[in-house]
């Protein structure tokens, strides 16, 4: 029978080797896949690496793509660490982008740094508003925040589409020639474009620096602050948090607001560094909000690791878009991305659990008490997502084979 048991302790080398091993497994599977689809494996790899890491333009592109993913990753991390699941980073990012664009257009003529700061603040507030809805509903009416925040993604998506495609709104460009042919958003003033100072030819976007600072702030918050302590307590046991006199409702709202602000800033970054206009189609295509959740899971909900995971996803993303061509179907890039993610996430599972195989005793004969519904009891508390993928901690999670 196969048993999955939780590991009690982890050595450092295991922690380091497992992610690398996962990437190796992904590498083997992808090579096989590329071979089967008749695309040269080595040329593909070298193209991918050059398109995302080794070429200066590629690396710059990677950074631009990675920044919003890191921020939405932090957005997911901050709630998931408390056992609250804000899936609404996508919608909060849209609302942030909308607010940032409006502010940039409105402040036309002001100095760049004023506009950029105003954009960030407005975007953070818009993200807050959008995350406040599931936050309040969860805190005071115990509604499922996963469903509410997910549904609000669609609301936000349709709303910004409406602003550009179905209305003559403030955001829509109705004057330019292109804008009369196909609905597009107004371009924000050049002064408000987020700078990307060059470092040896590689552009380091301002947004990335903001993301680094925010990741560090989140890390300190989770590890050292009283807020982080309250979050850990609540994640460990809501009833213990209540017992200790914590206002769990207020805590949920506060954490949702922080989370929404992070996703909102991701929207400002996207407008300031990449699209320079409200671009619903582009935003919906890249799905940075959802990519952030994957980055968060990949980084085991640790802000610093989430930052690294965001960079990895950014690299995969940017290489994928370069590869697509007549001989390389777009489906294949997606497949490659997901194989990498799947391997790393499964690796994370193996990091926390181990699978044991034991030969089953032979020659059973079913007796009287057939199909007795007696199962090994596990009275241990429900786990949280912190530190891995949440699965029961009981020593006997699954028994298979001998049923």
């Amino acid at each position: 029978m196969i048993r999955i048991e939780r590991r009690l302790s982890l050595k450092l080398w295991v922690r380091l080797c497992v992610p690398l091993g996962s990437l190796l497994v992904a590498f083997v599977i992808i090579t096989l896949l590329l071979f089967l689809s008749g695309v040269g494996a080595w040329s593909t790899y070298s193209a991918m690496i050059s398109a995302s890491i080794t070429s200066t333009s590629g690396l710059s592109e990677t950074f631009v793509i990675a920044t919003p993913i890191v921020l939405t990753g932090l957005c997911a991390t901050m709630t998931f660490r408390m056992g609250i699941y804000n899936i609404g980073g996508e919608g909060q990012l849209y609302m942030g982008a909308m607010a940032a664009t409006a502010v940039a257009l409105e402040l036309h003529g002001e100095p760049g740094y004023v506009i950029i700061i105003a954009m960030s603040v407005a975007a953070a507030l818009a993200g807050c508003v959008w995350s406040l809805i599931p936050g309040l509903l969860r805190a005071y009416f115990s509604t499922n925040e996963i469903l509410v925040s997910l549904m609000l993604n669609y609301v936000a998506g349709y709303f910004i589409s409406y602003l550009i495609f179905d209305s003559r709104s403030y955001w829509r460009n109705l004057t330019s020639a292109a804008g009369q042919v196909y609905p597009i958003g107004k371009t924000i003033p050049a002064a408000s474009w987020w700078p990307a100072p060059s470092l040896g030819g590689v552009g380091i976007p301002l947004g990335l620096m903001v993301a680094i600072v925010l990741a560090a702030v989140c890390a300190v918050c989770l590890r050292r602050s009283t807020l982080g302590f309250k979050m850990r307590t609540t994640a460990g046991s809501v009833s213990a948090a209540r017992y200790a006199g914590l206002n769990v409702r207020r805590l949920i709202v506060v954490v949702m607001l922080i989370s929404g602000a992070l996703a909102g800033i991701a929207g400002a970054v996207q407008v300031g560094s990449a699209s320079h206009a409200l671009d619903p189609t582009g935003l919906e295509q890249v799905q940075y909000g959802y990519a952030g959740i994957i980055a968060a899971a990949l980084g085991a909900f640790d802000p610093i690791a989430v930052f690294a995971a965001g960079l990895l996803l950014g690299a995969i993303n940017s290489s994928g878009s370069i590869l697509v061509g007549p001989s390389f179907p777009i489906g294949l890039t997606g497949t490659i991305e997901w194989i990498v993610l799947f391997s790393v996430i499964s690796g994370g599972f193996l990091l926390n659990f181990r699978v044991r195989w034991r030969p089953r005793a032979s020659g059973h004969k079913a007796g009287l008490g057939r199909g007795e519904p007696t199962v090994p009891s596990s009275s241990e508390p429900t786990p949280t997502l912190a530190g891995g993928i949440g699965i029961s901690k009981s020593t006997q999670v699954t028994e298979r084979g001998a049923r």
């Binding site: 059973h364 079913a366 001998a402």
Partner: protein, 521 residues
């Protein structure tokens, strides 16, 4: 599991042999990081009641689960009627006639007694005639062994004692030859215990063998023939309970390798101390609108231990939650140290001076996934000296942890996770935090449940010391011995009401037991 072992294959008629019905030789079982059973030897004769005695964590439950096919031994052999037998799954144990009745019962609450009894058997689809036969059988067993239950009642309607009877009848219906009862008396009133013991003796006289797991010594003398003692995973000895010179003290000595007597408190004489906890006509409704606490009034004086007892599930837990502010009260007032606390506000109760050791130790009182040091500052991490400007001062927290770990004799490091501590150690962490917050009132819900004798004694001593230092102690416990040895006054709860409050000097187990069933003494 080695190949030559034969699996259990017993038909309806058990084979008869002279030797022991069950014999376990050199059984070992380890879990990651723990050797739970270390070369355990055990022997069960036909028709005997054999106690398995040991403190918590001594491996009793692990051993019984191996006999029941829930765990597989790492090494060693189980012989049934002299045949080496592998029991890889519960159904093999059942086929061999071995049934384990666990502390939390495996019954389907939304099915009736009769349905639960046939659940999973071939005759699960009941024709009217078969059903009548089944009902007759249940009633017959009930009369014979004192296990009366109503066959058509739903499980959720039954008390814990009745559910236990259903489990036993279910096992008998499946032709149990060996019954394993894991701490069967924890959920019973004294009267129910007596009834159970009579039933077990009757069963044993009809050749059913019973393994009786307990850490309560009087029970072992009341019902068992022999006793095997487990100490830290090893079987220390097997003794005849009725042997000359056998006494609870001797057994205790064998259990621990030394003798221990539990601390008790002399009842206070003519106390004129002032009240520190006052409940006035407190009523509380649960989520379904049913009154779970009804018009409860009592006071706890400074330096007094006031006991609340009753059969589990009669509102004691809810009462504690109301006092702690974890549950809203529908009417009435709770005053702590002279101040009425707000309903449903735990923080207000804490500020008024309440310390609370909840029944749910790991999960409410402590966070298992956090370290000892984090758990020690669970209620004040966000205030100086443990944090400044929103940042936790790790050094201050660690210093506190180091101090309390040595002061309370907690076996662990500041950074060890509380979830990995033994029950007794976890309870020490909880008490350390609650007692160092300079409380006016200490409320403890079943604080010794599941603890071994030495840890129980530590908890008792801490409660007594708390009372000596002028704290009003409210002890909510189902353990009558504990209540009678510690409390000055005892209130008995039944269906959400206080049936009566008696002076400890006038109370006896029998009078309290009667009150626990709703009768006023």
């Amino acid at each position: 599991m080695t190949e030559h072992l034969k699996c259990a294959d017993y038909g309806p008629t058990p084979s008869i042999s002279a030797g022991p019905v069950l014999q376990a030789v050199n059984i070992s079982k380890s879990f990651p990081g723990v050797l739970a059973n270390d070369q355990v030897n055990f022997e069960l004769a036909k028709g005997e009641i054999h106690a398995l005695l040991g403190e918590n964590g001594s491996g009793k439950t692990t051993f019984s689960k191996m006999l029941a096919g829930l765990y597989t031994p790492d090494s060693g052999t189980i012989y049934i009627d002299g045949q080496p037998t592998a029991l890889p799954l519960p159904r093999h144990a059942h086929a061999a006639g071995i049934f384990l009745i666990q502390q939390n019962f495996s019954l389907v609450e939304r099915l009736t007694v009769a349905e639960n009894i046939v659940l999973g058997l071939k005759e699960a689809s009941l024709s009217r005639r078969k059903y009548k036969a089944l009902v007759a059988r249940i009633e017959e067993d009930g009369r014979r062994y004192g296990l009366d239950v109503e066959p058509s009642a739903y499980i959720w309607q039954l008390s814990m004692g009745e559910r236990q009877r259903v489990e036993i009848i279910k096992a008998l219906y499946r032709r149990a030859r060996i019954l394993i009862l894991d701490e069967p008396t924890t959920v019973l009133t004294p009267q129910e215990c007596k009834q159970l013991f009579a039933g077990l003796k009757r069963l044993a006289s009809e050749d059913t063998s019973i393994i009786f797991i307990s850490h309560k010594l009087p029970e072992i003398f009341a019902v068992c023939d022999r006793v095997t003692i487990l100490r830290s995973g090893k079987s220390v000895t097997t003794a005849d309970v009725r042997e000359e010179g056998m006494s609870p003290h001797r057994l205790m000595g064998m259990m621990f390798g030394r003798e221990i007597t539990l601390s008790s408190k002399e009842p206070a004489e003519g106390d004129h101390a002032e009240d520190t906890l006052v409940l006035d006509e407190v009523t509380c409704h649960n989520e379904f609108g049913r009154a779970v606490v009804e018009n409860v009034s009592f006071t706890v004086k400074k330096g007094e231990i006031f006991g609340i007892t009753g059969v589990s599930g009669n509102g004691q837990r809810e009462l504690a939650e109301v006092v702690a502010g974890l549950r809203r009260r529908s009417s009435g007032t709770v005053a702590i140290a002279g101040r009425t606390v707000r309903s449903g506000d735990p923080e207000d109760a804490i500020r008024a001076g309440l310390s609370y050791v909840p029944e749910d130790r790991l999960g409410t009182g402590l966070v298992p996934d956090l370290s000892i040091s984090d758990n020690l500052v669970l209620k004040n991490a966000w205030a100086p000296p443990y944090s400044r400007f929103g940042i936790v001062d790790q050094r201050a927290v660690k210093a506190l942890a180091v101090r309390l770990i040595s002061q309370f004799g907690i076996a662990g490091q500041p950074q060890s996770l509380v979830g990995q501590l033994s029950g007794g150690n976890a309870q020490k962490v909880l008490l350390a935090r609650e007692l160092t917050s300079e409380p006016k009132v200490l409320m403890a819900g079943t604080p010794t449940r599941g603890l071994d004798v030495s840890a129980t004694d530590v908890v008792r001593r801490l409660l007594i010391e708390a009372a000596k230092s002028e704290i009003g102690v409210l002890l909510i416990s189902e353990d009558l011995d504990e209540v009678l040895e510690l409390c000055d006054r005892i209130g008995v709860m039944y269906k959400g009401k206080i049936v009566g409050i008696v002076d400890r000097r006038l109370a006896t187990p029998d009078s309290l037991g009667l009150m626990m069933t709703g009768m006023t003494a």
